[in-house]
């Protein structure tokens, strides 16, 4: 075991600097804008420059701290641990035992790629609560990254004393390197142009606008708007359309850049996802941590026969904010099964759904009517002529409910449960019985009269749970599902069937 201490590539000083800069850019723009537009009159003289001076000092401080951080950072391998030493003012040391490391994630940003470097995020199981990687090596050469992996597997094998097997599995790895899925340019374009990224962009825009809204001289604008309205609604419509178009194009570009060359591979019981044009991201998900598999078809994509595949992964900072990882962002529906079968050989991907009985259709929209009718009635009353439009909500929600009713269903075999449902997009969720944490049968008074029940299953997803409801199925079916889940009653059958494995 080498005790040589390694440093990061010098470029990481620049990356540190840029990272802090990125976080500061918005306030900086606002400050400059304020001084540029609103700075006339009283605030003349040196005092108007003080902000710039502060920022200049800050910038230099940031650059220096970036350099110091890089200078101070050391990592090495000792006693089957990854040890790092870092810190700007306070020297910190962190030792991570190799066996605790769940995954290594690689990212290649625009600064990394000219030098053949990668950013390595080291994640352990415990890292979930803070949602932060346990260790981050900002920029190291690809060979160094490989070496970490080598040291890790070396340490693990030493423990198990089966080096030979490791060699074998390494051979297997080479064989399996062929990607299971690679998103075609055409699919990428479809994904980009139909993605919900528009909403994301707008929320970003809203944030920005709220930041600068103080600078807008509302009175003058108000007068101008009155003029504008006189010019005609057409102009406004055009302006809105133009803004939407630009927003859409930006979101297409963002999606395109993020999902460029999207591929998935399976290596060593891990799924490896790589994607990105400017910043190459590589995410690994251990298969053992996957709790459920979802196929999601939003109505638009359902029409064109496309779907997305999302997996629920347990724990960890792996997916950062979102515990649901997009395994395949967009794919033709008929191509899904061959790929999923290879990744998840234990799952059965051709379910034959039991649908919800006709008589429970009312449960899909009746509850919404309860609040909708008074709301629509009062809106109609108070905003008399136009308020009547709100009555349209009623047939719409009825139709949505009927649609949800038509989609809902479930299927089970001894080991897994498949649930299909729709909020707006159609979702089919595969869950292995051993991954279901708890199951609840819910019966309301009216459901009882109609002899139906709902089943709620909960799987682990991220650091919390994710509950899925099979709504208003036949009471007998619901009880059947409960019995299926109950360990005691089906034990004799189970033992026979599962012993051979």
């Amino acid at each position: 075991m080498s005790k040589e201490k390694f440093t990061l590539h010098p470029i990481s000083a620049v990356i540190n600097f840029v990272k802090v800069l990125k976080e500061m850019i918005l306030p900086l723009i606002v400050v400059i804008a304020v001084n540029g537009f609103g700075g006339r009159g009283e605030s003349e003289g040196w005092s108007s420059y003080i902000v710039y001076i502060i920022y200049a000092v800050l910038l230099i401080a940031m650059l220096v701290s970036g350099i110091i951080k890089w200078k101070r950072f050391r990592y090495w391998f000792e006693e089957e641990e990854l040890r790092i030493e870092y810190g700007l003012f306070v020297k910190k040391k962190r030792y991570i035992p190799f066996e605790r490391i769940q995954s290594l994630n690689y990212t290649e940003g625009i600064f990394h790629r000219p030098f053949g470097l990668v950013k390595v995020k080291v994640e352990t199981a415990g890292g979930g609560a803070t949602k932060e990687a346990d260790a981050e090596l900002t920029a190291i050469s690809k060979e160094a990254a490989e070496q970490i992996k080598k040291e890790m597997s070396l340490a693990k094998n030493k423990e198990l004393n089966i080096l030979n097997e490791a060699l074998q599995s390494e051979n297997q790895v080479v064989e399996q390197r062929k990607p299971l899925f690679r998103m075609s340019q055409k699919d990428l374009l479809i994904l980009a142009s139909t993605s919900g990224g528009v909403g994301v962009f707008f929320s970003g825009l809203a944030v920005f606008v709220s930041q600068i809204s103080e600078l807008i001289p509302y009175e003058t604008i108000y007068n101008e708007i009155i003029m504008f309205i006189r010019f005609g609604a057409l102009l406004i419509a055009l302006a809105v359309f133009f803004v939407l178009l630009v927003a859409w194009m930006v979101s297409v570009a963002i999606t395109f850049i993020n999902y460029y060359e999207f591929t998935i591979r399976v290596e060593d019981e891990e799924i490896i996802i790589t994607r990105g044009l400017l910043e190459k991201k590589k995410v690994t998900i251990p298969l053992s941590r996957i709790q459920g598999v979802r196929i999601v078809e939003n109505p638009l994509r359902q029409l064109t026969g496309h779907a997305a595949v999302i997996v629920d992964s347990a724990g960890g900072s792996l997916a950062e904010k979102d515990e649901k990882i997009r395994l395949i962002p967009l794919i033709k529906k008929n191509r899904i099964n061959p790929i999923l079968v290879q990744i998840f050989p234990d799952y059965h991907f051709e379910p034959n759904f039991t649908r919800v009985p006709r008589r429970s259709r009312k449960f899909f929209y009746r509850l919404d009517f309860l609040w909708m009718i008074p709301v629509a009635a009062s809106v109609s009353y108070f905003f008399y002529p136009f308020g009547l439009m709100s009555l349209l909500l009623l047939p719409l929600s009825f139709l949505l409910g009927a649609w949800q009713h038509k989609t809902a269903g479930y299927w089970k075999d001894e080991k897994q449960l498949v649930v299909q449902y729709r909020l707006f997009s159609r979702v089919s969720l595969w869950m292995e019985k051993k991954r279901i944490q708890a199951m609840t049968e819910r019966t309301t008074y009216f459901q009882k009269k109609a002899d139906v029940s709902s089943i709620v299953t909960t799987i682990k997803s991220g650091v919390t749970g994710s509950a899925t409801t099979i709504p208003s199925i036949e009471k007998a079916d619901a009880e059947n599902l409960m019995e299926w889940y109950e360990p005691t009653r089906k034990e004799p059958i189970d033992r026979e069937k599962e012993q051979p494995l």
Binding site: Q437, T440, T443, E479, P487, R495
Partner: protein, 159 residues
């Protein structure tokens, strides 16, 4: 029809829920008195006083008498070797199965009112969910906690 779980909560639990109901009704009463005072200074409508009073009485009846009674009769639990089964719910009857293999830890807890009546609540946590049995005699709850934790350790992951 599946059988209901066997065990019920302690009878004292019902009493504690009625006490909670009294507290909640007192809050409603204060609000009601406030509404009455406003009515006195603004309109002095007789019918408003009557509505006010009826609403408070109704709230008292529901929160102190009816709801605790329904909840208590509905609440059942059973701890078997391989799983825990719970049944509860006021308007919606919920029956939950938690396999022993999935149990991560068990806690008992006791607030001031529960302590006064020698009661405890017991919370069973899995990796993704948690389930509470609200009112058991403390000794019983402690015993149950021990039993569940032993069973959870023994239960083998057969799937």
């Amino acid at each position: 029809m599946r059988q209901e779980p066997i065990n019920r909560l302690s009878e004292k639990g019902l009493r504690v829920w009625r006490i909670y109901g009294i507290f909640q009704t007192l809050v409603a009463l204060l609000v009601g008195i406030g509404a009455g005072v406003i009515n006195y200074f603004t309109g002095q409508y007789i019918w408003l006083y009557i509505v006010d009073g009826v609403v408070i009485l109704l709230i008292g009846y529901l929160l102190i008498y009816l709801f605790p009674k329904i909840r208590w009769t509905r609440w059942r639990y059973e701890v078997r070797e391989q799983e825990i089964e719970l049944q509860h719910g006021l308007f919606i009857v919920k029956r939950t199965l938690v396999p022993m293999v999935r149990v991560q830890h068990v806690d008992t807890e006791q607030g001031p009112i529960l302590r006064k009546h020698d009661l405890s609540s017991i919370t069973i946590s899995t990796a993704a969910t948690s389930h509470t049995i609200p009112a058991l005699i403390t000794a019983e709850a402690d015993e149950l906690r021990g039993r569940i934790s032993v069973l959870a350790r023994v239960a083998e992951d057969d799937v």
